[in-house]
């Protein structure tokens, strides 16, 4: 780059970078606000905060993207950015699939438990079958130990 061209170019880049910084800060602010209103659990917000901070750092730290892309052997820095962004989105989607699978499993266990409890409740109410609930005490202990409790 010749110095003569660099001066107007630099001004344009700086203003562009400012815009990007503003966008990144906005993303972080929205995430923060969603957490504050309890619309988003911290557990799932962390990934989005990482995204916002990454954009912020890349926008503020001039040359980081360029040196990173050269370090991994990508000639065109925006391509490196796209590659990283794409991987991030893939990871996020995979994460959601895992969460969804776990939720389905937990939801199934809850539904089964509701049906079992309802049956016991209705059997207890029916006249002549009041003895149906007598097997209850040892069972509850059993289920709590055998059903998997999954937490992250």
């Amino acid at each position: 780059m010749t110095p003569g061209l660099a001066i107007p170019g630099l001004a344009a880049i700086v203003s562009q970078r400012l815009e990007v910084v503003v966008v990144a800060v906005l993303i972080c602010a929205v995430i923060f606000e969603l957490i504050r209103r309890k619309h988003l659990m911290e557990r799932y917000a962390i990934l989005w905060l990482v995204l916002g901070l990454t954009i912020l750092v890349l926008a503020a730290w001039k040359g980081l993207l360029t040196s990173f892309s050269h370090a991994v052997g990508i000639y065109y820095p925006p391509a490196a950015l796209f590659a990283v962004a794409f991987l991030f989105v893939l990871a996020l989607l995979l994460h959601f699939s895992i969460v969804l699978s776990r939720l389905s499993d937990q939801n199934k266990i809850l539904a089964q438990r509701v049906a079992l409890l309802q049956e016991r409740l209705e059997r207890g109410k029916r006249p002549g079958e009041a003895g149906g609930g007598e097997t209850a005490p040892p069972e509850t202990e059993n289920t709590t130990t055998q059903e998997p409790t999954r937490t992250q």
């Binding site: 199934k108 089964q112 079992l116 049956e119």
Partner: protein, 247 residues
């Protein structure tokens, strides 16, 4: 209270489930009947209760696997020693429950007995199904026979009886949808033993199969994937309880 439980999955089977329950009461009086009403929109639960069955009313349509597992949890928690699955649509003949029971009694080393439509060669035409479906069944049968090292002819049969170990295993871990084939893998993984005996099945009286034609490709792929993945589960994912031997 009986020590044996007949688990009857029923989804919108108000027309057929009453006859099934009556037949179980008649042919297998030593079995309590538990109907799994898997989120039916008709009066399946009411008909079943009126026919003298216990009813588990799933809060929404969980699918056959989730419903069946609820039945096994019920069996485990109420101390049943034997559980048999009998479809609510009249496909399975309750008069053959005694054959399954006799087989299990004769061979205490077995944990599960499955009624097979295809074991009795002379009666091969007794049960008709579409060609595509038969091909699918044959593929599963071949795969499972190879993996388990014993002859499996009807891996999709839901007419099955398990002992207490089987009940405990299925109460803890049971495949969510299209469970029959995977359940055989599950038994194999947990080193429980099973066998087949010949049965005859009726064409279904009412309702439609859980496996509709457009989903059959998904069904094949999903089950084959599950079986493949199960090969790499050397040890039980979840402990099926102290009754299961582990090596």
């Amino acid at each position: 209270m009986n020590r044996n439980l007949a688990i009857v999955p029923a989804y919108n089977e108000a027309e057929a489930v009453g006859a099934t329950i009556a037949a179980i009461h008649r042919w297998a009086p030593e079995f309590d009947v538990l109907v799994i009403d898997d989120g039916s929109v008709d009066d399946t639960a009411g008909v079943a209760a009126a026919a003298g069955a216990r009813v588990l009313r799933m809060p929404y349509n969980l699918g056959i696997g989730g419903g069946m597992q609820a039945g096994y949890v019920y069996a485990r928690e109420n101390g049943y020693e034997i559980a048999v699955q009998v479809d609510g649509d009249g496909q399975h003949d309750p008069s053959q429950i005694k054959d399954l029971l006799a087989c299990l009694r004769e061979h205490p080393e077995l944990n599960m007995v499955t009624g097979s439509r295809f074991l009795d060669e002379t009666d091969a035409d007794g049960y008709r199904s579409s060609a595509a479906r038969r091909v699918g069944i044959r593929i599963f049968a071949r795969v499972l026979s190879t993996i388990t090292g014993q002859r499996v002819t009807d891996p999709t049969s839901g007419f099955r009886m398990t002992d207490r170990k089987g009940i405990e295993l299925f109460a803890t871990d049971y495949p969510m949808d299209y469970p029959e084939v995977e359940a055989i893998m599950l038994m194999h993984t947990h080193r429980l033993r099973s066998c087949e005996i010949p049965v005859t099945m009726e064409p279904r009286l009412t309702g439609s199969s859980a496996i509709a034609a457009p989903q059959s490709v998904y069904y094949m792929v999903k089950v084959l994937l599950a079986v493949f993945v199960a090969l790499f589960r050397k040890r039980p994912v979840r402990d099926a309880g102290p009754a299961v031997e582990q090596t």
